[in-house]
């Protein structure tokens, strides 16, 4: 009988010490057997270790946010949000030109990258077969890894130099550069989301006599909607903070520009870059304010993205 009670290194029941038995004589449900103490210790150590690593990973983020908030908060004012910037050595003015420029360029970049990226993702998931799809996927991956300054350089070479002066610095080349940065993010995130739409839904639509494009438009895309929105938001957040692609395309301008073509236009990251590298305290101060504003914008977009995703998850996937 004792043999049948021998389980996982505890040894026969008869070999248990009285401390290992409950009052009623059953084996206790504690960790027992060879190396029990060691296993418990290893478990706890690992847990603590992981916690420490997590805290370590969060330290830079917390430091950046704290520093930016501390230095930037005093700068943010109505004037900062609505006025054009004074020269770097002088007090006053703000980042209005940057906000307007970033707004215009991100809007246009989204308008370009979103439909193209979404279409590519739909193609990859529902239509793409064989070599062509593999090639697209490969180039999307490569695009993700391209340093963003090259994107700016490429757009400069192709659009501005390439047009022989027809197109010069301004919102349009800036938006194109941002769109190229956004594109692989949109494609890849949309592809992942579209893959999660179950084939049962597609079959359900087909069984009702839907054509493939109708299934895509009326079932697959709506079902994936919240996830797609999340991916798009993250791409927008990324584009909002990009500096390098704009240096040779938007060029920067402290005047508020609303034209799409041929007038150099400001952007918040460009303005931060320019302000921070000049040896004048007022410009550097304002750069901190710009950094805080940018941080808040990106944070809001990211939180919004998560919120949209979660809300839709609750509404339909329970």
């Amino acid at each position: 009988m004792t043999q049948t009670l021998d389980r996982r290194g505890t040894g026969p029941l008869t070999s248990l010490t009285p401390e290992q038995l409950t009052a009623s004589g059953h084996p206790r449900l504690t960790v027992r057997g060879r190396g029990a103490a060691r296993r418990t210790l290893a478990d706890r150590t690992l847990k603590v270790l992981l916690m420490i690593v997590m805290v370590l990973a969060a330290i830079p983020l917390v430091l950046i946010v704290a520093q930016v908030a501390q230095r930037g908060l005093g700068v943010i004012s109505w004037e900062f949000l609505t006025e054009r910037e004074a020269p770097p050595a002088r007090e006053g003015g703000g980042y209005a030109a940057g906000f307007v420029g970033t707004g215009i360029m991100v809007l246009w970049a989204t308008a370009m990258a979103l439909p193209v990226g979404l279409a590519a993702a739909v193609y990859l998931v529902d239509y793409g077969r064989g070599l062509f799809a593999t090639v697209i996927r490969f180039f999307t991956d490569v695009m993700t890894g391209i340093p963003s300054v090259f994107v700016g350089l490429a757009v400069y070479a192709l659009l501005i130099v390439g047009s022989g002066g027809q197109i010069s610095f301004g919102a349009f080349p800036g938006a194109v550069a941002l769109a190229i940065v956004m594109l692989p993010i949109v494609v890849r995130s949309s592809e992942e989301v579209l893959k999660t739409v179950s084939d049962e839904l597609r079959r359900g639509a087909f069984a009702l006599g839907a054509r493939k494009w109708q299934t895509t438009m009326k079932v697959v895309l709506p079902a994936a909607g919240p996830g797609l929105a999340t991916g798009a938001m993250l791409a927008v957040a990324r584009a909002t903070g990009e500096t390098a692609p704009l240096i040779l395309t938007a060029f920067g301008n402290i005047n508020i520009i609303t034209d799409l073509f041929n007038v150099a236009i400001g952007a918040v990251p460009l303005q931060i870059y320019n302000g921070a590298r000049q040896p004048f305290a007022p410009g550097i101060e304002r750069a901190w304010g710009g950094a805080l504003a940018l941080l808040v914008i990106v944070l809001v977009l990211t939180v919004l993205a998560r919120w949209i995703g979660n809300r839709a998850l609750k509404a339909h996937r329970v």
Binding site: E200, L201, R203, G204, A205, F206, A207, L208, G209, A210
Partner: protein, 281 residues
């Protein structure tokens, strides 16, 4: 023969026909063979599926009954490498003829799946989905109500048509899927183990619904549950799986197709009898 008349006959003798089916069959299968690539899933099926009756396809796992069902409305087209040989005639027309539009086939021959698969849309939009695709011009509210009534679901959902289809229970979701299929006014409804994910009470509701529905529709159902086949169907086809040990291939084949009463009370083939009595499969 007029299809309505055939329906009337089966109403007079609900789900226990004592007669041979009458009228032109909806489906005529002649030596139908379905392959996935080089693998033959089901081979050489010949049967006439009668109008306004419930036909059950039963048999052990791997006998190709679901494959056969899917071949009836060209849902197999969606599986890469699937091909059909032989003839599958629907109302006398070969549905695999080169000029046939599979979408048109599926509009006439609807399908309900094993797992309820409502769209992530409101209850109303789920039912209205098919009619909208077809450019339905009438009053959508009326059509949705009628379809939900026919699916015995109206009373349970009439106050929450705007809520998500996912807010319903599993059995309700399956009836929603049936309502969705009914809404496009099909001729035939194929059901692939429609109750296997449902509890017994929800199952009985669906079975009641099927008996109601056969006045208007021809139903072909695949089921693992022999009692269910006995309870609801008028005709039963028993399929089995032939295992070729030399090639290591398993191929489904039709053993026997007859009225449900005959299959369950006096099957002609020993294999059918063994399966029905639980000695095999």
């Amino acid at each position: 023969m007029d299809p309505q008349a055939a329906g009337a006959v089966s109403v007079a003798a609900p789900n226990r026909p004592t007669r041979e089916p009458v009228g032109a069959p909806v489906f005529e299968l002649r030596d139908a063979t379905v392959r996935y690539g080089s693998f033959t899933a089901v081979k050489g099926v010949g049967m006439d599926i009668p109008r306004n009756e419930i036909t059950a396809l039963i048999g052990p796992s791997g006998c190709g009954k679901s494959t056969l069902l899917r071949s009836l409305n060209r849902m197999n087209d969606l599986i890469a490498g699937a091909s059909v040989d032989g003839k599958i005639m629907y109302n006398g027309e070969d549905i695999y003829a080169p000029d046939v539009d599979p979408v048109e086939v599926r509009r006439r021959i609807g399908m309900v799946f094993q797992k309820p698969n409502p769209f992530p849309k409101s209850i109303f939009d789920n039912v209205a989905f098919g009619p909208r695709l077809n450019g339905y011009k009438g009053d959508m509210g009326d059509l949705v109500e009628e379809s939900l009534r026919k699916a015995f679901l109206w009373d349970e959902v009439k106050d929450k048509l705007k809520e998500s289809g996912f807010s319903l229970s599993g059995g309700q979701q399956q009836r929603l899927c049936i309502a969705r299929a009914i809404a496009v006014d099909p001729d035939v409804i194929l059901m692939d183990e429609p109750c296997s994910a449902l509890d017994p009470i929800a199952t009985l509701k669906i079975e009641d619904l099927m008996r109601e529905m056969k006045d208007e529709y021809t139903i072909v159902i695949v089921t693992h549950n022999m009692q269910q086949a006995a309870r609801v169907s008028d005709m039963t086809a028993f399929l089995t799986v032939d295992i070729d040990d030399e090639v290591g291939e398993r191929t489904g084949a039709l053993v026997e197709f007859d009225t449900t009463a005959t299959i369950f009370a006096g099957a002609h083939d020993k294999r059918t009898e063994d399966y029905i009595s639980g000695r095999f499969g």
